[in-house]
Structure formats: structure tokens, C-alpha cells
């Protein structure tokens, strides 16, 4: 196990994580020229490791194009990862093939970003929610219908809508249909890929509360992908901040929002709007200059070194590893390593550090 598998809430007995991602890489090849030769890769996800405990919500935040959704999709084997290991419930999802993978799918489901695009316009609600049941169970038509109604009740949809089509619903209702479909097979792990990004603000809260409610009732484990930092603060237990295909910081929610360690996390969090105008006026915003480098050609050193306000020489040379610098707080930054430990960070002694790639028990 790469992370100390402690139950965060009790801080005691080690619990096996439900999801364990180790050094996940997802490269999309680039072919150029007349001969369509393989000339490079878009490194959408470049060595991401984290684990999620049963019943936990891990928030995954980052700006557009940083690889959040790719992580979610690679986790469910909607993409074939280039390298790495994804253990979900004891099976390495990246290695499963054919029927074994199909049998594994009920345990892991996904809620999609755009509820309009994620529902087939030519299928009725009952057909949409019933599809997973049709694929994985041997229920009779009547049992299936009963289960569909049960799911519709669970997500707060009127049973009378069962024969209607997706275009007849509002955005929030459509997202409920999507959630019901994801729940149909009693999954343990659900990837929520920006489930609220396409919804009105008033509906966002409803959907997030529904997700929390379902988590309490059904003991679900979420990977909650979002760029809405305040919503992540509301729902997540721990938060991973991604930048250009790598995790910059992985910390418990409150610790991260109180005192972000990684300069990128700091900059990102300083962008969250402050509702109080007085506080907003006096607030220090960190404005990053420049653009995100191309994931096809990331910097040699730290991915953030081109825009980092506290960049050092070593940042341009060596990629920082994701290390535990404080209890439960993991940061990939040279400010916190011995090599770059001249800054303001709090470098702990080298013995405490756990190199994530080595896969040892800490």
C-alpha cells in the first residue's frame, strides 16, 4: 500500500482502500506526417497515485484540461491506460479483459457531466434506468420495472415519468435519471464527472445533497471531479489538486482549504470568490501569469515551474515526487523536499517521507 491506510475519521485501524490508483498514466498518441508516424504523446495523465477509502469522497479539482475527467474515465476502463494500476475492490481494473471486465462493471459506475448528452434521446426513462439491469441481471420484465420504480423513488423522480423521454425533463431531473442509472446495479464506487457543472446553481445544491444523501444511505464511495471549489469543499472528505496531468497536492479538505501547501493549490484556492464584499476587497489574490504548457510537451522539471511564483532552480530540472510532508498531506513540490528545502515550507526529515512509486507500506 502506498499510502498509510488509516481510517481518517477514527485514525485507528487500517482499512483497505476501496480504490487504489498507482502511477496511472494515460497518453494519447500523436500521429503526424504523411506516414502517420507516432511522433509524441499528449500526456493527459502522467503518473497519478491516490487511494480512496470505503465510504469516502475524494474531490478531484483542477483547471480545464488538466486531466481530471481522463483520470475518472481511465479508472472505469473507458480508456485503456498507458501504464499504472487501478485496484478497485481487489481487482486490477487495467488488467481485466472481456467478460471479467464486464462482470466487474456493476461495482463501478459513473455520473456524467452533461445530463442532456448522457441520456439516449430515443429511450424512455424506464429503458434508460433499466438498461444496466437488462445487461447484468436476469430479472423478469416486471421485477425490472419494480426495481426501476424503486430507483426513481430513491432519486426523487415521480414514477409517472417512467415512460417519458429525456427531452421532456429539466436539467436537474435529467441528472437524477443519470444518477438512478448509475445506482441501478448497487455499485460501491461512483465516479462523478462534474455532475453539477451543467446545472443551474439552484439545482446544483439539490443534486449534491442527493448525492450526499445516497452516500449515507447506501455507503457509496465517490470520486467527485469538479472545478467548482466551493462545491468540492462541501462534499469531499479529501481533495486532490491536479495540474497538467499530475497531482500537485492531496490533502484532507479542511487542511487544504485552510492552508494549501502547494503553490498551485494556493493560487487555485485564492480564486474562489468571497461572498463578503469587505473580505473580497482586502483579499490577496494570486494571479498566475502565462498559460498552461501543452500536455504534449510538458516542462522537464515540475509541471508548474513555468508559472510558479516561488520557482527555484531545481524545479526546472527535476520532477518533484508526491510525498507526505505532514500527516495525511501529500505534496509534489520541491519547497518541501530536502533538495529545495530553503524556502518557507516545513520540510520534515527524510525518514518520514514515503516515495509513492515504491509501493511500500508506510
Amino acid at each position: 500500500m502506498t499510502e498509510p491506510a488509516l481510517d481518517r475519521r477514527t485514525g485507528e485501524s487500517p482499512v483497505t482502500p476501496l480504490v487504489q490508483v498507482t502511477d496511472l498514466k494515460m497518453y494519447f498518441p500523436i500521429y503526424t506526417g504523411i506516414l502517420r508516424r507516432h511522433t509524441g504523446d499528449v500526456k493527459a495523465v502522467d503518473g497519478v497515485s491516490f487511494s480512496i477509502q470505503p465510504g469516502e469522497t475524494l474531490g478531484l479539482v483542477g483547471e480545464s484540461g488538466c486531466g481530471k475527467s481522463t483520470v475518472g474515465r481511465a479508472l472505469l476502463r473507458l480508456y485503456d491506460p498507458t501504464a499504472g494500476q487501478v485496484m478497485i475492490g481487489g481487482d486490477d481494473v487495467t488488467r481485466l479483459q472481456g467478460e471479467a471486465l464486464r462482470k466487474k462493471r456493476p461495482q463501478m459506475q459513473m455520473v456524467f457531466q452533461d445530463p442532456q448528452a448522457s441520456l439516449n434521446p430515443r429511450m424512455s426513462v424506464a429503458e434508460i434506468i433499466g438498461e444496466p439491469l437488462l445487461e447484468h441481471t436476469t430479472l423478469s420484465a416486471q421485477e425490472r420495472q419494480a426495481r426501476v420504480f424503486e430507483l426513481m423513488d430513491q432519486v426523487g423522480l415521480n414514477r409517472r415519468f417512467a415512460n417519458r423521454f429525456p427531452h421532456e425533463f429539466s436539467g436537474g431531473q435529467r441528472q437524477r435519471i443519470g444518477i438512478a442509472r448509475a445506482l441501478a446495479l448497487n455499485p460501491r464506487f461512483i465516479v462523478c464527472d462534474e455532475p453539477i457543472a451543467a446545472l443551474d446553481v439552484s439545482i446544483q445544491a439539490q443534486v449534491v445533497n442527493l448525492l450526499e444523501d445516497l452516500q449515507d444511505r447506501l455507503g457509496l464511495t465517490y470520486l467527485f471531479i469538479s472545478h467548482d471549489l466551493s462545491m468540492v469543499r462541501h462534499i469531499a472528505d479529501r481533495v486532490a489538486v491536479m495540474y497538467l496531468g499530475r497531482i500537485a497536492e492531496l490533502s484532507p479538505r479542511d487542511a487544504l482549504y485552510d492552508r494549501p501547501l502547494h503553490p498551485y493549490a494556493e493560487a487555485l484556492l485564492s480564486a474562489v470568490p468571497e461572498p463578503d464584499p469587505a473580505a473580497e476587497a482586502s483579499r490577496d489574490r494570486i494571479i498566475l501569469s502565462g498559460d498552461v504548457p501543452s500536455p504534449a510537451n510538458p516542462p522537464r522539471g515540475c509541471n508548474f515551474c513555468t508559472r510558479c511564483p516561488r520557482v527555484m532552480d531545481i524545479c526546472r530540472q527535476v520532477k518533484p515526487e508526491l510525498l507526505q510532508v505532514e500527516p495525511d498531506r501529500w505534496v509534489a513540490c520541491h519547497l518541501y523536499t530536502s533538495a529545495g528545502a530553503t524556502g518557507t515550507g516545513k520540510p520534515s526529515s527524510t525518514n518520514d517521507k514515503t516515495r509513492i512509486q515504491q509501493g511500500e507500506d508506510a
Binding site: 463501478m108 459513473m110 456524467f112 434521446p121 420504480f149 414514477r159 409517472r160 415512460n163
Partner: protein, 306 residues
């Protein structure tokens, strides 16, 4: 349990999808008119030979009744060798309609299958689309002529002359007219398979076969329907071209296209001779077009809801 049942039936909407489709179809005036006209044509063609049978004229009668205008005995007049035009139209219609529909079905089947396979499976895309290009690049009429010349007698020996020619013609037209459909369908599938509901189906674990049938095929219905309605017209015309060139059905075996070409020679003296077959072809094509239009709307729940 009764509670569940009661909730299952929707009070404000028809329960059966077929009925909903039919109800939407009925609101499309053009489609209903088209369906009526096509039904009349089909019925005329099917029961016509029994209802209208003037009998074979003797040589003398035939000589006397060349190129007659409309009369009670010959409602549509007669042709240059004294044959009753109505009888010929009825016989011709049977063949033309059959050729049109069967050839269209074959070409749509080929086109949709190849388009979906090419669009969905990336590895098949290159080979199948190059095959499509090859077919598009082939000069169609010479190819058809060679096909007919090479195989007509062999197929005829197997199945009898008329059925043989029919089979050969519909196959030949079918396999040389699927390319447009394939290209359109491939384009649609390429766009559709990136949609999130296809991704959702994959995350559920739906195997490709069912994924295509359940999620992709229903959503390419519209372009396929358009291609199909146009395909019928094309097939009828292509068949008449073949017959005209002497490589389709034998000369005494009438089809609408053939009647049209026979009539062209006498068009200035007896314009009726081209008007009737032309009208029949146009009516068929037009009504099929409107039916396709109505069907496309009726199959789309987004339009059906209104």
C-alpha cells in the same frame, strides 16, 4: 402491487410506443397522402391483372389498333404495336415497384452495415472506406452491363429467366448504390460514438453488438430514411436504363422505365405514352419520400412530444 401497476400506466400519454408513433405519423398530412397513394398503386398493381384483362388481340385487331388514343376499350390508349397500355402499366408496375423496394432494401442494408462498422470499429474504418471509394470510382453503367452479361444466363439457368433477371438486377443495383449511405452513416456514427450516452452504455458493460443496436442504430435512422427514399427512385430509374440498353428484362417484359423509354420515340406525336409511366414513377417516388419524412418525424421522440 396494484399501486405499482396503476403508476405504470401513464394517464396523460399513450402507453404503447407503436401507437404513439402511429399517432404522430397520422398528424403528418403529406405522409398520410403519400401512404394512401402508394397503397393505391400497390393494390392496383396486385389486383389489376384480375380486374382488367382485355385479352390478347388477334393480329388483325392489333394492326388496326396501333397508337390509339384513350377510349373505353383502351382507357390509356395503345402502343405502336397495338398493345393495351393499361395492361402494360399494371404489369410494369409490379416489376418496377418490386425492383425499387428490394434494391433499396439491399443497398440500405449494405450501406448501413458498412457505415456502422467503419464508424464504430476504428480498425475497420480504413479498409471499408477505401472499399467504398473503389465502388464510387467504378463507372456504374459499364459495370452493371458487364455484370449482367456475365451472370444473366447462369442465374437464369438456376432460377428461371424472369426471377433470375429480377434477382440479378436488384442485386446489381443494390451493390452499386450503397456507397452514399455508407458514407453518411459512418459520419453520423463517428459523431454519435463520442456522445456521453454511448460512453455511459460502455461503462455499464453493454457489449458492442447491443450498444450498436440500442444506441447507435436508432439515432442514425433519419439520414438512413432519407437515403432510402431517394434510393427507391434511383433503383427504378437504373433498372429502366438497364432495360433500355437491352441488358435488363427482355423487351416484351414491361417495366415503367421501359415503357417510358419506348414512349420517348413517339413523344411528340403521342405525349400520353410518356406521361403515364412518368407519372407512375414520380408518384411512387414522391409518396415514398413523404412517407419517409413522416416516419422520420414519428420515430423521433423529441418531435413526437409536440
Amino acid at each position: 402491487m396494484t399501486d405499482t401497476r396503476a403508476a405504470a400506466t401513464r394517464p396523460d400519454k399513450p402507453d404503447s410506443q407503436l401507437r404513439a408513433i402511429w399517432q404522430q405519423f397520422r398528424t403528418h398530412t403529406g405522409a398520410v397522402v403519400g401512404l394512401t397513394i402508394l397503397a393505391i398503386l400497390v393494390i392496383l398493381v396486385l389486383i389489376g391483372p384480375f380486374a382488367w384483362n382485355p385479352g390478347k388481340p388477334s393480329v388483325l385487331e392489333a394492326l388496326k389498333s396501333k397508337n390509339l388514343g384513350p377510349s373505353l376499350r383502351h382507357p390509356l390508349g395503345t402502343d405502336q404495336i397495338g398493345r393495351d397500355l393499361l395492361t402494360r402499366m399494371i404489369q410494369a408496375g409490379k416489376v418496377s415497384l418490386a425492383v425499387g423496394f428490394v434494391a433499396m432494401a439491399i443497398s440500405i442494408l449494405f450501406g448501413t452495415t458498412i457505415g456502422i462498422l467503419a464508424g464504430y470499429f476504428r480498425r475497420l474504418d480504413g479498409p471499408l472506406m477505401r472499399l467504398t471509394d473503389v465502388f464510387l470510382a467504378l463507372p456504374l453503367i459499364p459495370l452493371l452491363l458487364v455484370l449482367m452479361m456475365l451472370f444473366r444466363d447462369k442465374v437464369a439457368a438456376l432460377t428461371g429467366p424472369e426471377l433470375g433477371v429480377f434477382l440479378l438486377i436488384v442485386m446489381a443495383i443494390g451493390v452499386t448504390s450503397w456507397m452514399q449511405t455508407a458514407r453518411i452513416v459512418r459520419g453520423e456514427v463517428l459523431a454519435l460514438k463520442e456522445r456521453e450516452y454511448v460512453l455511459a452504455a460502455r461503462s455499464i458493460g453493454t457489449p458492442p453488438r447491443r450498444l450498436i443496436l440500442r444506441h447507435i442504430l436508432p439515432n442514425v435512422v433519419s439520414p438512413v430514411m432519407v437515403a432510402a427514399t431517394l434510393g427507391i427512385a434511383d433503383a427504378i430509374i437504373t433498372e429502366s436504363v438497364l432495360s433500355f440498353l437491352g441488358l435488363g428484362f427482355p423487351p416484351d417484359f414491361p417495366t415503367w422505365g421501359r415503357l417510358l423509354f419506348d414512349g420517348v420515340e413517339y413523344m411528340q406525336l403521342y405525349p400520353v405514352r410518356v406521361i403515364w409511366p412518368g407519372l407512375a414513377i414520380s408518384l411512387t417516388v414522391l409518396s415514398v419520400n413523404y412517407i419517409g419524412d413522416g416516419l422520420r418525424d414519428a420515430l423521433d421522440p423529441r418531435i413526437r412530444g409536440r
